[in-house]
């Protein structure tokens, strides 16, 4: 063991400029790679790291020293991951399920908005073409939740999702956005159906029924989303 190069952490030479923000960003990415840390947990750990860095700087350490010491104090991302999952094994899954349902909701809204256009405005005699087009659309739409589920399970785009979660932030905002989506897509469908029905001489009384039944499904998902939403400012109800 030659005692010369025994630094546990790589210590850069003084000439190279140390970028504290870049180092913190790297750390954030590393933390985002841990599967069991919910976005709220990562945010909390980040504030802890920043607090530690700030305190070490106050004590006279430079940016680089403060960062590496703070990093070591907060703990290894992998170790944190293991400890956090012990405390609340369901938390990270609630968040994952939320995003999967969000994907289902978005893809269904998208197809509800686009499919009427195909059915209503494309001439009736090119029915095979519309068939093929609608099946392709359906396949593409159902791919979205699958892609999101796989990427979340692999720990990809986690930073993006935690940023999105922070943006959603408020349960009331989410509820308004989601129900607006339902209203918009349902009304588009109604209009399209009305056009289609008039073309086929179908009586409009069935229209309302059709509209209502097609709204039930997205409404259920909308309620589910609002309920599942990973809240940032949670106030746990008092239960014995």
């Amino acid at each position: 063991m030659a005692g010369r190069s025994q630094h546990p952490e790589p210590i850069m030479e003084n000439q190279t400029h140390f970028d504290l923000n870049a180092a913190i960003e790297n750390w954030r990415q590393e933390l985002a790679g841990q599967l069991n840390l919910a976005s709220d947990d990562r945010r909390e750990l980040e504030t802890h790291l920043l607090d530690t860095v700030a305190e070490l700087q106050r004590r006279g350490l430079n940016d680089e020293e403060s960062f590496w010491l703070a990093r070591r104090r907060v703990g290894q991302p992998q170790q944190l991951d293991e400890e956090f999952v012990k405390a609340d094994p369901g938390k990270v899954w609630r968040e994952r399920v939320f995003w999967m349902w969000m994907a289902v909701f978005l893809s269904s809204t998208l197809s509800r908005l686009t499919s009427p256009i195909m059915f209503a405005f494309v001439p009736v005699n090119t029915s095979t073409a519309t068939e093929v087009a609608s099946i392709t659309l359906l396949l593409l739409a159902s791919l979205i939740p699958i892609i999101i589920a796989v990427s979340l399970a692999m720990g990809k785009w986690v930073a993006l999702f935690s940023k999105l979660t922070q943006m959603v932030g408020n349960r009331r905002h989410l509820a308004v956005a989601v129900f607006l989506c339902v209203a918009l897509s349902s009304s588009t469908q109604m209009v399209a159906r009305a056009i289609l029905n008039s073309r086929h001489n179908i009586h409009n009384s069935t229209l309302i029924l059709q509209g209502l039944t097609s709204t039930i499904h997205p409404l259920i998902i909308a309620f589910l989303l609002v309920w599942l939403m990973p809240v940032q400012k949670q106030k746990t109800s008092k239960r014995a």
Binding site: L45, T47, H48, V74, F84, K86, A87, K233, K235
Partner: protein, 117 residues
């Protein structure tokens, strides 16, 4: 690495609940501050590794003993503050009785004056 003056690992784990509850009984606080307080009050005998406190806090929150809220601190950054719930206050009372019972038993054995519970 091991210092005799430091608390054993299982004792650190067991005492984390009454310590957190007692600190929060004095008013809301956040993870970093809680660790500082424990280090200070224990005279350095209890050293919590930073990342390990949060699972403890989250478990207490899940049990309904503490509650949390993201709030902007004077630094302008947001921090997750924790505060005691009414159930937490009750739990602290029980913890206090139990820890003092242990303390008094040991005190009598060691011929130190016990503390009234």
């Amino acid at each position: 690495m091991y210092k005799t003056a430091m608390l054993a690992k299982d004792l650190v784990a067991a005492s984390s609940k009454p310590l957190v509850l007692s600190i929060l009984a004095d008013g809301e606080s956040y993870g970093y501050e809680i660790i500082q307080k424990v280090r200070e009050l224990s005279g350095g005998h209890i050293e919590w590794s930073d990342g390990m406190l949060y699972p403890v806090l989250h478990r207490l929150e899940r049990d309904g003993l503490i509650e949390s809220e993201w709030k902007e601190a004077d630094t302008g950054r947001e921090r997750k503050y924790y505060f005691l719930s009414s159930d937490g206050r009750k739990a602290l009372k029980t913890e206090r009785q139990q820890w003092l019972a242990v303390h008094n038993t040991l005190s009598r054995l060691w011929k130190i004056k016990p503390i009234s519970i």
